[in-house]
């Protein structure tokens, strides 16, 4: 215990870095699937097909009603029992973050698409664009400004929520920190470092989201 906090941090850095890499991997994969799924959700929700809308509504409400941590346990314990599927807890976390994120990003995309003037759709159709071309060249690019700030904000939520993965046994940054605490009892220092780690990842994103929102508010 004679060693200073700084020395301790230096010694533990590789272990924390390895954990951080896991945390960032879960977050990045979750964000990737949330974005791809969210755009798909948003486009599907805009087709105006009743059965599709009902299915999306059920999907959304399930992820809004059941907390993410509960979903983590449902998938972690449930998949092996109900489907005989045993997937590593890392991928359980990615799966849940991706599905939950997709419903939230999807609502953002849906709202942004709906805010576009109806005529944009008709003008695109009238020059013979296909459905994919219509969304790819005309509608989504115009919805981009409106959906980017809230989506970046959701990314910070996904990153913060990725911390819950430790509770289903993923050896990520918190677990790495706890292992160091078991050796050194430096809990204030380590948990302080963990808070700072997430802060330095999330704060720039939230700040960027705010700046973009203000800049694009009137366009």
């Amino acid at each position: 215990m004679a060693s200073t906090g700084f020395e301790l941090l230096q010694v533990s850095l590789p272990q924390l870095a390895a954990g951080a890499l896991q945390t960032l991997s879960i977050s990045a994969l979750g964000i990737f699937f949330a974005t791809v799924g969210g755009v798909l959700y948003g486009v599907l929700a805009n087709l105006g097909k009743r059965p599709v809308n009902i299915a999306l509504q059920v999907y959304l409400e399930l992820f809004r009603a059941i907390p993410v941590l509960v979903w983590l346990y449902l998938v972690f314990f449930g998949l092996p029992i109900f489907f005989g599927l045993s997937i590593p807890s890392f991928w359980c976390a990615v799966l849940v973050l991706g599905l939950w994120g997709a419903s939230e990003v999807g609502e953002v995309v849906r709202g942004a698409l709906r805010s576009l003037p109806r005529g944009q759709r008709e003008a695109g159709l009238s020059i013979g664009l296909s459905g994919w071309q219509l969304y790819g060249y005309v509608l989504l690019p115009q919805a981009l400004k409106r959906m980017t700030p809230p989506t970046i904000n959701l990314y910070t939520r996904i990153i913060k929520t990725s911390s819950l993965a430790v509770l289903i046994g993923v050896v990520e940054v918190i677990k790495a920190g706890q292992q160091i605490i078991e050796r050194t009892y430096e809990s204030v220092l380590i948990y302080g470092a963990l808070l700072l780690f997430f802060f330095f990842v999330c704060y720039p994103l939230s700040a960027a989201s705010r700046v973009l929102e203000r800049r694009w508010a009137h366009t």
């Binding site: 008709e122 003008a123 695109g124 020059i127 013979g128 296909s130």
Partner: protein, 257 residues
């Protein structure tokens, strides 16, 4: 000779309400048909059906002899042959003027960029907007945007153009610049279907006036006959509301030249 466009016993409903009732209308190639009628009479819906933006319920609609209401109709093909211009222009706000014009030719028709761009620039020059090639729609006036929207449709090399109240959203001083472009197309012999409230323009440009009310076609006549001796009482009433037309120059042609 069979007509280029042929509506027959054509019906369309919005929910319970019938908005088009037993429409019979033939348009020959090269003909300029102006559709007149009070607001809500179904004239815009008629154009939109021809572009596949609305679906009909029954009857027949042929383009060049081919039935469009049959299941398997490729509307993307039809829309390349039938261009449409809207009241509020609907240019794509995130694209420059040139990109607006090239989207269809490059992505839908898969044409070569050099050739498509040359055509787009020639058409821009024709409507007097070549210098606006690289600006964005929001930097343009309404009249300029509408002329670009017309060029956007023309770049697809359509056989027919549909104009749906294209001057209704414009400030009065910009109406003329848009109508001139349409009149130029009419002179070239393009097939045009025009919905408008500009009576003087209708009279000057039309080969035939179609008068609609409450989803029905009440009469079809050459413009001089329609404006001087309307057949139906409804058309007479309609024209009386626009009686100030009398005080306008006899033809728009004179005013413009």
């Amino acid at each position: 000779m069979s007509a280029l466009i042929e509506f027959q016993g054509f019906n369309k409903f919005f929910g319970e309400q019938q908005v088009l009732e037993q429409i019979d209308l033939q348009v020959q190639a090269g003909e300029v048909v102006v559709i007149l009628g009070p607001s809500g009479c179904g004239k815009s819906t008629l154009l939109r059906c021809l572009n596949g933006l609305e679906q009909a319920h029954s009857g027949s609609l042929r383009l060049d002899g081919k039935e469009l209401l049959a299941p398997g109709t490729d509307w993307r093909q039809v829309r390349q042959r039938v261009g449409m211009v809207f009241q509020s222009y609907h240019l794509f706000g995130h694209m420059s003027v040139l990109d607006n014009l090239l989207l269809g030719p490059l992505k839908v028709q898969k044409r070569e960029r050099g050739e498509a761009q040359a055509q787009a620039e020639a058409l821009l020059a024709r409507v007097g907007l070549l210098d606006k090639r690289d600006v964005f729609p929001r930097q343009l006036s309404g009249g300029q945007q509408q002329r670009i929207a017309i060029v956007r449709s023309l770049c697809m090399n359509p056989e027919v153009m549909l104009f749906d109240e294209v001057t209704a959203a414009l400030d009065p001083e910009m109406v003329k610049e848009v109508l001139q472009v349409i009149q130029g197309l009419a002179r070239e012999g393009m097939t045009l279907l025009i919905v408008t409230h500009e009576m003087a323009f209708a009279r000057a440009v039309a080969d035939r006036i179609v008068f609609m009310e409450a989803g029905r076609i009440l009469e079809q006549n050459p413009p001089e006959r329609f404006f001087t001796q309307p057949q139906s009482a409804r058309a007479q009433q309609f024209l009386e509301k626009f009686s100030f037309v009398e005080s306008l120059p006899k033809t728009l042609h004179k005013e413009l030249s």
